[in-house]
Amino acid sequence: MGAVAATFEMAGFRALLELADDALILGHRLSEWCGHAPTLEEDLALANMGLDLLGQARALYAHAGEIEGKGRGEDDLAFLRRERDYVNCLLVERPNGDFAATMARQLYFAAFMHPFWRAIAASSNDATLAGIAAKAEKEMAYHLRHCGEWVIRLGDGTAESARRMQAAVDELHRYTGELFEASPVREKAVADGLLPDPGTVRAEWERTIAMVFSQAGLTAPEVRVPQSGGREGLHGEDMGHLLAEMQFMQRAYPGLTW
């Protein structure tokens, strides 16, 4: 919500926040499945993916706080911003829905983040970010494989699972375009060599999705109006409720150590 000029100066910080918020919100969403998954093995897999993302978020917030240089630590950034200042994409805040929707959301995200982290590791002039990226790339490779297999299993399973899987795709595909958009802040970060243009991994993402959908018998819907706004803090209505839960303890007991 701050002036554009100020955030432009803080482009590196803001770009790191985009990555961190994506990881935090999606990790939080996955953690909501705990104890409620279709099988015990999936409870573990979902928790595993959630832990990967929360770990990435933690490292990114810590680094972002250093870059910002105003003394804000990982928890200040994760828990104490206003909703309009979270800059995650809309895809990651979508509610879990059923298992098909969760797998679709994760597939879409992992199919992007896997090559994007690889590109960051290869080209970022920020050694810390490159280090985070190298680890995250491996983690996202697992997410991609795990969720791609599930999307295929569900798309080419029973009539009901196919219906649910296609419904999930019909609902979520409209949120994928935002992954490749470069906000003005991100464009500046690209120019500064912090990370590459997300558009450069779009072709690979499309190939991955097409390959999985083909095996799954799924059709990507035509999206006439891609949904976006997350990078400007313009979220949907689910985000406020998510943050009310997530931030509650820090708000109710300000400034304490846990």
Partner: protein, 315 residues
């Protein structure tokens, strides 16, 4: 009869009984019940702690709690696998849990009301579980003993983390300290109940001891727990909610107040605060996931069928 003595001799020699070894039906049945209950406890135990993941107060605590709950799920997997070596299927065990036929540790029928409850569960509940589980690492049944060794490693870590949460609270603000004391007040007695009825009233005790499924009596383990835990409470300035707690220098043991066996019976018989909610949540997860499991089976069948077709045609 001779078979029973031969079997007992093996057990007495501390030999491990393995899945395909001949064993008395009573031995098999006891283990199926106990290992099943243990597995169900790990699974149901994910719920009270899972209740606080979305509200964990810091990233570090959020990650640690999610990892703990994931570990518990993993423990459940090891234990279901161990039970399956005795001829019972996961589906059967799941059905028995959801129908109320099989039990799980009654401690998980208590609600987690504050963040301090998460500390108390790690410290006291995992602490009590460890007291039970360390002897089980030497259980006569091989798969169960080996599962316990893996479980114990992770559970010690969880217990220390829980205590660390309590320590941070006890050293925090007045409100945090009150929160920790309140959680201790509410979880202390239920944790003591985890060791089961007094020795004289315990139904399965003697035979289980003979078969080296059980190594120590309920009261012995309960005493070990109290002995280990009271100093930990004192160290962080919290008070165990038992005005009759008294260290007996002669015996080296703690005397403690009477456990409320009426409450224990109520909770064990399905009337605790969260019993119905726990089973309802597990049942919902199971029912909501049916279409997923069916799809996985259907897909696997399709793949198996396509593999029997000549390779050319399949491509």
């Amino acid at each position: 009869e001779e078979f029973l003595s031969l079997f007992q001799a093996r057990v007495d020699r501390e030999e491990k009984i393995e899945p395909n070894d001949p064993m008395p039906e009573g031995y098999r049945r006891t283990l199926v019940r106990q290992i099943g209950q243990h597995a169900h406890s790990e699974i149901v135990g994910m719920l009270p702690e899972g209740n606080w993941i979305t509200r964990a107060p810091t990233l570090r605590r959020k990650i640690a709690l999610l990892a703990k709950v994931q570990d518990e799920g993993g423990h459940g997997l090891y234990l279901y696998s161990a039970a399956e070596t005795l001829g019972v299927s996961r589906e059967q065990m799941t059905e028995e849990l959801l129908s109320g036929k099989a039990k799980y540790s009654s401690i998980f029928n208590y609600p987690t009301l504050t963040w301090a409850d998460i500390g108390a569960i790690g410290w006291l509940v995992d602490g009590a579980a460890i007291m039970n589980q360390i002897p089980l690492c030497r259980c006569s049944y091989g798969p169960y003993a080996r599962a316990m060794i893996r479980v114990c490693k992770e559970e010690s870590f969880h217990q220390r983390q829980g205590y660390e949460i309590m320590m941070a609270l006890a050293r925090g603000s007045d409100e945090q300290k009150e929160m920790a004391q309140d959680a201790l007040n509410r979880w202390w007695w239920p944790s003591l109940m985890m060791f089961g009825p007094h020795d004289g009233e315990s139904a399965h005790g003697e035979q289980s001891m003979a078969w080296k499924i059980k190594r120590f009596s309920n009261d012995e383990l309960r005493q070990k727990f109290i002995t280990a835990t009271v100093p930990q409470a004192e160290f962080i300035g919290l008070t165990v909610p038992d005005p009759d707690l008294k260290f007996n220098a002669e015996t080296g043991l703690y005397e403690h107040g009477e456990i409320d066996w009426v409450e224990f019976k109520a909770v064990v018989s399905g009337n605790g605060r969260m019993n119905r909610d726990r089973i309802r949540d597990r049942k919902q997860a199971h029912d909501d996931g049916a279409w997923v499991r069916e799809a996985a089976l259907a897909h696997a069948a399709k793949r198996a069928a396509s593999r029997t077709v000549p390779q050319e045609a399949a491509e």
